[in-house]
Amino acid sequence: MPTQRQRHWVAFSTLLTREIRRFIRIWPQTLLPPAITMTLYFVIFGNLIGSRIGQMSGFDYIDYIAPGIIMMAVINNAYANVASSFFSAKFQNHIEELLIAPIPNYLILAGYVAGGAARGLLVGLIVTMVSLFFTTLPVQHLLMTLSMVILSAIMFALGGFINAIYAKSFDEIAIIPTFILTPLTYLGGIFYSIDLLPEFWQQASLFNPILYMVNAFRYGFLGVSDIPIGFAFSIIMSCISGLTAFALYLLNKGTGIRH
């Protein structure tokens, strides 16, 4: 007779495996597009325009933007995976397979978030390999780089989950990425240092969580950041804690999934 912990582990790994199998099965929609898009970023912003921009914070422009481009791919894919997978499960009603099973809500959340993070990290790895065709990508602080990319993937997977809980149509899972996530990503210091901005916009940028992720991740590669790293970590951990608590509250309440 398996213990409760063993049953929970099997349930979690089943959900995670199903999520991974899903995004690998549809790789032309999930893994290929970011590789192509990010290659274009490196060609256009890195090689063609970057060579005319010169240096940013003491680094070649392509070296400066590479960590941000990798991070952009990670957070977009972690978010999109959970948002589309969980919403599809609601739409096709196969979320009921999970709701009737003896799985605590925190494990349902953990399974989907781990699945989203797995896609984000795999896409991040693909984009990193693509970037090596354009830059050498030195790593100054390996542990920092890895922990930041994992935490960022988790944070945006949680965001995708909450989006999917509220969504009532496929349009509603496209609205947040288009109108909130993309602007925040582009204004999150991927392509520039916030030191270049006027004082007001520098202060405004500090409200953008992506700024902290990109800077801490860039610090892992290049050893430079616009903001203190410890502060960046605490902001990200606070966001993860807040989003986890909110997602669990919605699941326990049955918002969007139980009548």
């Binding site: 199903r18 199998r21 009921e96 709701l99 003896p102 799985i103 009548h259």
Partner: protein
């Protein structure tokens, strides 16, 4: 032991609609139980609450003595559900669906695989094991839902209209399969619109209407309440004149077809004696309608009148 006990269960939806008005229901272990009612009566809401798909407004549900509200994880391990609507991931393969569902119940893939193989063979889905579920026919999807509900070997199986839209041959083979698993000890609760199905399979019955249980008894005693039966008689030759018999209502519904209502206390022999005396030859006789259907309609009509 009670497989299911429901006490004072109420459900009011957000729009104010009261779907359940304090129902009480008990199902004994090993029973084959019918939960019947017209559309919108509260059957699916009741099943939804038992299986955690719908949140209750009030009352208690226990499954094999385990309170669903205080210990949902243990209570859920006893339950299997065959829902009314197809709810698969259409892109997943048939066997993956079973093994994934077993995993959600904490059963590792190496343990689930032989069980999945056995169920797929029993339910005639073995050849389709690697097919995405969306490519299955309606009948196969119904059988896959039964296999999925049984993969973790539940003690209480709830079937919400499992044979809807299924042809007669397949329906009968599903009945046979359900009788087998019931004989092996699985308690079954069935909702259906085919009252013949409930009459043939179930030992006990509850009828729900407008959120209330209007009848809860065993099938035999319910059927014994019928005070008359209706028969259809096919005649060898058309009637030449109107036929009238004492104590028997006769209605001519075709040149060679009669509809005859006979009270339970009256002998059917009297009818044939009279017909023979008048030179009328009967070539065949059958029940007009399923007996449970008549009772069901009278019980539901009563609540509408109230």
């Amino acid at each position: 032991m009670k497989a299911l006990s429901i006490q004072n269960l109420t459900k009011v939806y957000d729009n104010g609609f009261k779907a359940l008005d304090g129902i009480n229901l008990n199902v004994e272990q090993g029973d084959f139980f019918a939960l019947l009612g017209p559309n919108g009566a509260g059957k699916s809401t009741t099943i939804g609450i038992i299986t955690s798909l719908v949140t209750k407004t009030g009352g208690n549900v226990t499954v094999f003595g385990i309170d669903l509200a205080t210990n949902p994880e243990q209570a859920k391990t006893y339950l299997g559900l065959v829902p009314q609507e197809f709810n698969f991931n259409g892109f997943e393969q048939v066997k993956h669906i079973l093994i994934t569902q077993a995993g959600y119940y904490g059963m590792p893939a190496h343990e689930a695989e032989p069980l999945a193989d056995k169920l797929l063979k029993q339910l005639g889905l073995w050849e389709k094991r690697s097919t995405p579920s969306r490519a299955l026919s309606g009948g196969m999807k119904r059988r896959l839902m039964i296999a999925r509900a049984l993969i973790h070997e539940p003690k209480l199986l709830i079937l919400d209209e499992p044979t809807a839209g299924v042809d007669i041959e397949l329906r009968r083979s599903m009945w046979h399969f359900l009788e087998q698993i019931n004989a092996q000890g699985t308690t079954i609760i069935l909702t259906t619109h085919y009252l013949e199905e409930a009459e043939n399979l179930c030992r006990n019955i509850a009828i729900i209407d407008q959120g209330n249980i209007v009848e809860n008894t065993n099938m035999k005693s319910l059927l014994n309440r019928l005070d008359k039966e209706t028969f259809i008689l096919d005649l060898k030759a058309p009637l030449t004149e109107e036929l009238k018999l004492d104590n028997i209502d006769i209605n001519q519904i075709g040149p060679t077809t009669l509809e005859v209502e006979i009270k339970k206390e009256d002998a059917i022999n009297d009818l044939f004696i009279t017909l023979t005396e008048q030179g009328i030859t009967v070539t065949s006789m059958k029940n007009k309608a399923n007996r449970l259907e008549e009772l069901f309609l009278s019980l539901v009509e009563k609540t509408v009148d109230k």
